[in-house]
């Protein structure tokens, strides 16, 4: 009996010590997280004040050099603020509204600096400056409790879990939403872009579920007679489509086909892939071209092929005009298995949302010898269409250039054909 009591006491003591240890570790962890959140909050508050001051200061200058320096500051600080705010456990709508609003300020600063649109900047920022000041004040009020001595981690968990209506950030959120709408209304190009995303211009005749399956089987004969489950997109979806899920042998996959016109948006099939490589790169190219013919994609061209463990990923772009320029935003992607050359995937979402091409854009020649530094070789040059930062489709030169060195470092440079703005520089491995 005595031994049992003795053993039980030791067990209770050990358990007590263990739970004390665990509790201490938890407390330490909570304190570490609390310290990091407080640090991020302080950083965010400081960045917000600095941003507001910087926007205010930008209204002082007419001098181009002084203003450009301030615009660079605003762009940098807005990015830093976005990064800090995204590390705080705010509710999703508060975080999203902050990221959008401050991101817009940064983008405006960059746009004004790149396009020397200083007058436009001054016009727009008069109001933004006042709103930013009031947001900064509300932020100070909303966050004051987080610096109290008795603050604990539960304050943060409450913010993340509760609805914004019940959180201290209620006013900040509601003002951010309204300021976003008034201070940064959608530009014409953004609104065009959204329209395309929503496939609002698709006004073909509606098809039935059965017709959608028929269409799919013509394009992908390998899944003929599969077992299908077809559902329609939800009511809120911006465009209606059939979501077709199929099973055939070891193949399981899906296809989305628009109700209007029966355009295939995407298709993906999964099956075990044999390790043995059964098709060559040339055969993959031939299979791609066969599929394009069968599917009626007569105006696209292969722009890139990437082989990986199981499959080839092939990128295609639409070709337009006499100069055969490639429209990258109207792309199609294919996935072809390495073992048998079976088509495992098709993504034609962007192709369905065809861009309108401005054929009138000027093509002003560039002397690449003076454009690039000596020792840079231009290896390829072609014309393409791609979007600039304002979502405008621009005709561009796409140049593959390399350094004349042992490493042969290679770059892809995209330059606007009219104003010679450099839109992209990518390192090509």
């Amino acid at each position: 009996m005595k031994s049992a009591i003795y053993l039980l006491s030791i067990a209770v003591l050990a358990l007590g010590l263990y739970s004390f240890e665990v509790r201490q570790q938890n407390t330490q962890l909570e304190q570490t997280v609390q310290a990091q959140y407080t640090n991020a909050l302080t950083n965010a508050s400081e960045k917000l004040s600095t941003l507001q001051r910087s926007v205010s200061q930008s209204l002082l200058f007419q001098d181009q050099q002084a203003l450009e320096a301030e615009l660079d500051n605003i762009w940098r600080i807005s990015n830093e603020f976005r990064s800090t705010i995204s590390s705080l456990p705010l509710s999703r709508d508060v975080a999203n509204e902050w990221l959008r609003y401050v991101g817009n300020i940064g983008e405006e600063a960059k746009y004004a600096s790149d396009n020397r649109d200083f007058e436009g900047w001054h016009d727009r920022m008069q109001v933004v400056n006042q709103n930013l000041q009031s947001l900064s004040d509300e932020w100070t009020v909303a966050t004051s409790n987080f610096y109290q001595n008795d603050a604990d981690i539960s304050q943060w968990t409450n913010v993340a879990e509760k609805d914004t209506e019940q959180s201290p950030f209620k006013n900040v959120a509601s003002n951010l939403k309204s300021y976003s709408e008034t201070d940064f209304p959608l530009t014409a190009s953004e609104s065009d872009w959204l329209k395309k995303r929503d496939l609002q211009n698709l006004d073909d005749k509606e098809i039935t579920k059965e017709q959608a399956i028929e269409k799919l089987e013509i394009l992908i004969p390998g899944i003929k007679d599969a077992t299908y489950t077809v559902t329609k997109s939800k009511e809120d979806a911006p465009y209606p489509f059939y979501h077709i899920q199929f099973v055939k042998g070891s193949r399981i996959g899906y296809a989305d086909i628009t109700v209007k016109g029966g355009h295939i948006l995407s298709f993906l099939s999964e099956r075990p892939i044999q390790e043995q490589k059964g098709v060559s790169q040339q055969q993959v190219r031939d299979l791609t071209n066969d599929f394009l013919k069968r599917a009626g994609y007569n105006d696209v061209q292969i722009v890139e092929m990437r082989e990986n463990h199981q499959a080839w990923h092939i990128a295609l772009a639409r070709v337009v005009g006499e100069d055969k320029a490639l429209v990258y935003p109207d792309g199609i992607q294919l996935k072809i298995s390495k073992d048998s050359g079976e088509l495992l995937g098709l993504n034609a979402m962007e192709y369905v949302q065809r861009e309108e091409i401005n054929e009138d854009q000027k093509v002003v020649p560039i002397n690449w010898e003076t454009f690039f530094r000596p020792g840079t070789h231009v290896e390829e040059e072609k014309l393409i269409y791609t979007e600039n930062e304002a979502f405008q489709l621009r005709k561009c030169y796409e140049v593959i250039a390399r350094f004349d060195s042992k490493q042969n470092e290679t770059f892809r440079i995209v330059v606007d054909t009219e104003n010679h703005d450099v839109l992209k520089v990518e390192y090509m491995p």
Binding site: R92, T231, A237, F241, L268, N408
Partner: protein, 261 residues
């Protein structure tokens, strides 16, 4: 008589193997060009490096570095300069270079940083483990990195490993859609680790080792597939308690998840 013929045959083949060891591991019969990946490309890079034409990493990925090196080789040996390793080019390469297949593959498997230059002892051309953290074994669109793939595969596996393949591609696509959206941070890492954004981060399941299926799903999303049709959020209707997430416009349901804007 039969015995002496048999011995002669063995002697001839044995001598050939000793005199011309590089023939033992010659290329497969396939034409190799930019975009290719695998053992043939490893051999091509190793042989080009042996001759001093290629100075990059031997990783089995036929990128621009390999392309220019091959063109330079073709130019020097008066072959057709097309940057494509066809039968003639391969034959020429094999006849003028050596390839230590087992050694090269051992270095790659062990994650060693190594080179394969001719005239330098192999032992002097390797540093154990130095390259493992940077090993690349996939070809991604240029805007993504191997780290992005790894991080996203962890997120997809943690969030949706029980979901159909389509559902896994969909979760990866949501992360990439957030990257394009002004409402979210600017990097994949910031998006994944944004507090409260993903359950797998909160409950630590993101640290589980992802399987090949999750990596393949991320690869498909990075290559353009988006089964969600531009969704920015998703939730499990059985477990979601937030009124806000139910207020989002819904697009479609895949597996256990509803995808929405």
């Amino acid at each position: 008589m039969v015995r002496s013929i048999f011995m002669s045959v063995i002697l001839i083949f044995g001598t050939l193997a000793v005199v011309n060891p590089n023939q033992t591991f010659a290329f497969s019969g396939q034409v190799v060009e930019r975009g290719a990946f695998g053992d043939d490309v490893i051999e091509l890079q190793a042989r080009l490096q042996y001759l001093g034409f290629y100075n990059g990493k031997i990783d089995g990925i036929f990128g621009y570095g390999t392309y220019w090196a091959l063109r330079n080789f073709q130019e020097q040996y008066e072959l057709n300069i097309d940057g494509i390793a066809g039968a003639k080019t391969k034959e020429q390469l094999v006849s003028v270079s050596e390839y230590h297949r087992d050694w090269v593959h051992e270095q790659i498997e062990n994650g060693n940083r190594f080179t394969h230059y001719g005239g330098v002892p192999l032992a002097q051309q390797t540093t154990a483990g130095a390259g493992s953290s940077e090993s690349t074994d996939v070809q991604l669109p240029t805007k993504y990195t191997e780290r992005d793939l790894q991080l996203m595969a962890n997120a997809v596996y943690g969030e949706a490993r029980g979901e159909p393949y389509e559902g896994q591609v969909a979760v990866a696509a949501v992360i990439l859609n957030r990257l394009e959206s002004p409402d979210f941070p600017n990097t994949i890492s910031e998006i994944i680790f944004q507090p409260g954004a993903f359950t797998a981060v909160a409950d630590g399941q993101i640290w589980l080792t992802p399987n090949e299926r999750a990596r393949e799903a991320v690869l498909d999303a990075m290559n353009g597939w988006d089964p969600t049709e531009n969704a920015l959020y998703y939730f499990n209707p059985e477990t979601a308690t937030s009124a806000w997430i139910w207020s989002r416009p819904q697009i479609k349901k895949i597996g256990e998840h509803i995808f929405c804007y």
